[in-house]
């Protein structure tokens, strides 16, 4: 488990993280979202001990990460801005990882390279931006590290590769009990892969929750009743949002005890449709419920 307590970091006078507290449970994919400059990359660099915090503690499996070589064997980081040694091929880069990671799996790397059609003996500098991202990700996956940190994970990947990569990452998490933290400024990128989401704002985690709970508790309902009706008609149901267009109303409801359908059916609706919510919609309504305007964060 990753535990962050009272973490603060400033660049000169610019405070990026301010007394941040957070916990990431094992064997999950944690999505970290936030606007540009919210501190996502800084947080990952602090966890990976690239930068030193001004204050606070980061522990993984109960151990402080501070210059902890043993712990670093269990961690791998793929930054947003990738680095490869200029004359290195993908194989050279893989060998670099292999030399430093005790559990590096070269066979698995070759499998992944084959899957993504990456030539192992080609210089990485000649690859496209997306291919470089694939190289970095497959090298990281082949380390078999318990904790993986991917910054702007799918940046530059085309939709096909993006889906394949998501599958590979999800498989890694399932089969090898890996914990993955990935960041993005785009919620849609993370919704179909993450188990948990955290929203970073003004140096702290503003909101976090597991996606399944979010998705199973909130619904978008389209309803049409005979005669005149308004928001008051739906008393007894937790309505987060109400919009009526002609005779059809669209409701966003929170339904933790799963009784809403029965309650609505009692109103004998002409139309009653339960529609799935996108993660972005869920966040918008949750934030609005907390009194924030979501567009400011993402």
């Amino acid at each position: 488990m990753i535990k962050i307590e009272g973490l603060s970091k400033a660049y000169d006078k610019d405070k990026v993280l301010d007394n941040l507290n957070c916990e990431v449970k094992d064997n999950c994919i944690y999505g970290l979202v936030g606007a540009n400059g919210a501190g996502k990359s800084t947080l990952l660099r602090l966890i990976n001990n690239i930068f030193l915090p001004d204050s606070g503690h980061i522990t993984i499996d109960g151990e402080e990460v501070n210059d902890n070589e043993y712990l670093k064997q269990k961690m791998v980081f793929v930054p947003d801005d990738l680095f490869f040694y200029p004359s290195y091929t993908l194989m050279d880069t893989a060998k670099y990882y292999e030399a430093l990671y005790k559990n590096f799996d070269m066979v698995y790397l070759k499998e992944l390279a084959d899957l993504f059609h990456l030539d192992l003996n080609r210089k990485v500098s000649t690859f496209s931006k997306g291919m470089k991202r694939q190289c970095a990700l497959i090298c990281a996956l082949a380390t078999n590290a318990k904790y993986m940190f991917f910054d702007e994970t799918f940046d530059g990947l085309d939709p096909v590769v993006r889906n394949t990569m998501k599958k590979v990452i999800a498989k890694q998490m399932e089969e090898k009990q890996t914990t993955i933290i990935m960041t993005s400024h785009n919620l849609r990128e993370l919704e179909d892969i993450c188990d948990n989401l955290g929203l970073l704002y003004k140096g702290g985690i503003l909101f976090e929750s597991d996606i399944d709970t979010l998705k199973t508790n909130m619904y978008k309902v389209q309803i049409c009743l005979k005669g005149e009706y308004d928001k008051e008609t739906f008393k007894g149901i937790e309505v987060l949002s109400y919009k009526k267009n002609g005779s059809v109303a669209t409701l966003i409801i929170k339904d933790e005890d799963k009784t809403s359908k029965k309650k609505l059916e009692k109103l004998k609706p002409i139309i009653l449709d339960y529609l799935p919510l996108t993660l972005e919609e869920i966040f918008i309504y949750e934030m609005e419920a907390l009194g924030y305007e979501f567009n400011k964060f993402i």
Binding site: L52, K72, F77, D81, F83, Y85, L100
Partner: protein, 654 residues
């Protein structure tokens, strides 16, 4: 802290692999150039050079300021780029391990390179016929340069740990290496180095003021009444005990004596200890380094300005000297101000990629320059006011040169204490225009190690008296007699280096027959012997009239010429008998005489002459001795160019 646990060989291997090309070039270039230099020194045309530690080290003077910094940047340079910082620091290796691994790895590379270099020198010394390098010198070479290279490497590691880009890292390295030694050397050597500056020497009694001293102006006469003696002395540079790289540079900048104390044990120990201290400092700085501070000079503008101002110290120091020489005239002041502002501008442009900082900091600059100049002026005034000394302050004297006589040159090397000789010198010397034939050049070394030279006007009789007086000094006698025959590795006759087989014969003869005295020798022949003793090349320049040694010298010179002359066609040589101008046909006849004359033995107790032979480049001079005076005179008479009215009798010895 367990160093073995912190050393990660896999990381080092990978770290070296990524810059193997650059490293191979830089590591290989020193031994390769050194080998080429050794082959050049072995080459017949350059073989006159006696190998000394500085000669052996030529390429290292440059290499020491490039190679360790290149290695340091290859190993630690990742800290200058955000992307590589992310990559390397996210790897499963701690900062402690990175620093220790890179430091040990870098030192190992430098040691290995110096070891390879030393082994090559040893092999070539034992393989090449003209190259004799004492093993002691090779060991000293290895120790000296390994310590020096490692020191620069540790300094560079500190600089890398605190700076944000390569340029500032190099600037910080230069500051750590040179700022303190340079400032000290500048204040203690360059500032007071006023040539022919008037110094007042206070005498402890009336006797040390020369007899004819009252003949000069009123001021001097008045000074003499106070037992004060004004002299125009040349202040000499003191010897240095800085760290090794500073010794090399400061010796070069201020023309110091570091060349002569090249293997300076104090400096080596100091450099070694400082290297260890710098490793520890670098370690902690690296652990605490803010990795986000990269791709810029320093985050803190104040630190940036301090570093920039410190890098200006040498420039401003020399500017001060130039201004002093120009008596602070306005035009010089303006030009130098432009140079300084230009430097300030370029520094910002390179390190911060902008010139806005110049505008912001122009007031710092305008405040800093006058303050620095005032400080220098203050030091200058202080040194000017405190430059005079008393005769009692003179601890050692050294006779550097005399106008007449052929004395054992060892006497000109030694610094000795001798109050009687000092007083004699001060009371029996003239105070007027120097005569080319009547002078004695003396160095005074004071108790505080300041050193001054003065050329006294003395009669030849007084020179002889002085030398005799000095020769009675027990320390001088001990020094004169102390010829380290066992470690002589080079012998020169004129500019001709004696080959190994003849060298040992000559050394043995000298050991047996050379008188250990300082007496003036007329009609003698000169031998230069070089030993490597106590980490230094000792030069023994001896003039001898001992016939056994002279016979051997003549035999060696004759044999060497006869061996070498086959390599030279006549049209590549000049031949002459000193004092005569002869036609080219005469030279040809002398050439054939040397080639055809089978007898290389000469009896120095009989009359003899010598023919001088030089090649076109004149880097080789030979002498061919012969007792066959009639034959030589016959050739000279036949081909003599008429306008030369020399008499042959003057140019041969009997």
């Amino acid at each position: 802290m367990n160093l073995i646990n912190l050393f990660n060989f896999n990381y080092l291997k990978q770290n070296l692999k990524k810059s193997k090309g650059a490293l191979a070039v830089f590591i290989g270039i020193i031994p390769i150039i050194n080998i080429l230099i050794l082959f050049m020194l072995n080459d017949n045309n350059h073989s006159n050079e006696v190998i000394t530690l500085p000669v052996l080290s030529i390429i290292n003077f440059l290499g020491i300021f490039i190679l360790p910094i290149v290695i340091s940047i290859c190993l630690f340079g990742y800290v200058f780029k955000k992307r590589s910082v992310d990559f390397v620091n996210s790897m499963p290796i701690s900062r402690k391990s990175i620093f220790i691994t890179n430091t040990i790895g870098g030192i190992a590379i430098l040691v290995l390179m110096n070891l390879i270099n030393a082994i090559f020198i040893y092999i070539l010394s034992n393989t090449l016929s003209n190259l004799t390098i004492p093993t002691g010198m090779i060991i000293d070479y290895f120790i000296l340069w390994t310590v020096a290279y490692v020191f620069v490497f540790t300094v560079s590691n500190i600089a890398v740990s605190i700076s944000g880009n390569m340029i500032t890292s190099i600037a910080v390295s230069a500051l750590i290496l040179f700022l303190v030694p340079f400032t000290h050397a500048f204040i203690s050597n360059a500032l007071p180095l006023n040539h022919d500056s008037e110094y007042i020497i206070e005498c402890n009694n009336k006797e040390c003021v020369p007899d004819n001293y009252y003949g000069v102006g009123t001021t001097v006469r008045n000074l003499a009444k106070e037992n004060k003696y004004t002299m125009y002395l040349n202040r000499k540079s003191s010897s240095y005990n800085y760290t090794l790289p500073s010794n090399f540079v400061i010796g070069f900048l201020f023309n110091g004596s570091s060349y002569y104390i090249f293997y300076n044990t104090t400096s080596i120990i100091k450099t070694f200890i400082l290297s260890l201290i710098y490793i520890v400092i670098g370690y902690f700085l690296f652990l605490k380094r803010k990795m986000e501070v990269c791709e810029t000079s320093f985050k803190n503008i104040m630190v940036h300005n301090i570093v920039k101002c410190l890098t200006m110290v040498p420039i401003l120091s020399f500017v001060y000297l130039m201004l002093r020489e120009s008596y602070f005239d306005f035009v010089s002041l303006l030009i130098l101000l432009v140079i300084i502002v230009g430097y300030y501008f370029i520094y910002d442009l390179i390190t911060r990629k902008g010139i806005n900082y110049l505008k912001k900091n122009i007031f710092t600059l305008l405040f800093y320059i006058p303050l620095f100049m005032l400080l220098m002026k203050g030091f200058d005034t202080y040194l000017e006011n405190n430059k005079n000394f008393s005769v009692d302050d003179i601890k050692y004297i050294n006779i550097e040169n005399v106008s007449k006589g052929n004395y054992n040159s060892r006497i000109f090397d030694i610094y000795f204490e001798d109050k009687e000789a000092l007083n004699y010198l001060l009371t029996h010397t003239g105070y007027g225009t120097l005569s080319e034939d009547e002078y004695i050049k003396v160095n005074f070394r004071l108790k505080d190690n300041r050193e001054y030279s003065y050329t006294f006007n003395v009669s030849p009789e007084d020179i002889e008296y002085m030398i005799n007086l000095i020769s009675k000094n027990s320390k001088v006698q001990e020094y004169i007699n102390d010829i380290d025959y066992d470690n002589i590795y080079a012998v020169k006759l004129g500019n001709l280096k004696v080959e190994e087989n003849y060298r040992n014969e000559l050394i043995e003869l000298c050991r047996k027959h050379l008188p250990n005295s300082i007496e003036n020798v007329d009609n003698g022949l000169n031998i230069e012997m070089y030993s490597y003793t106590n980490h230094e090349v000792e030069k023994y320049y001896i003039t001898t009239d001992n016939n056994i040694i002279k016979d051997k010298i003549m035999e060696i010179e004759n044999k060497t010429l006869k061996e070498d002359i086959v390599n030279y066609p006549f049209n590549e040589l000049y031949l002459y008998v000193s004092g005569y101008s002869i036609e080219r046909e005469g030279e040809l006849e002398l050439y054939n005489y040397i080639k055809n004359n089978l007898d290389t033995n000469v009896d120095s107790s009989k009359d003899y002459m010598f023919i001088e032979v030089a090649n076109y480049g004149k880097d080789k001079f030979y002498r061919y001795y012969t007792n066959d005076i009639d034959k030589i005179n016959e050739i000279i008479d036949k081909y003599k160019i008429k306008e030369d009215a020399y008499t042959s009798e003057e140019y041969y010895y009997d």
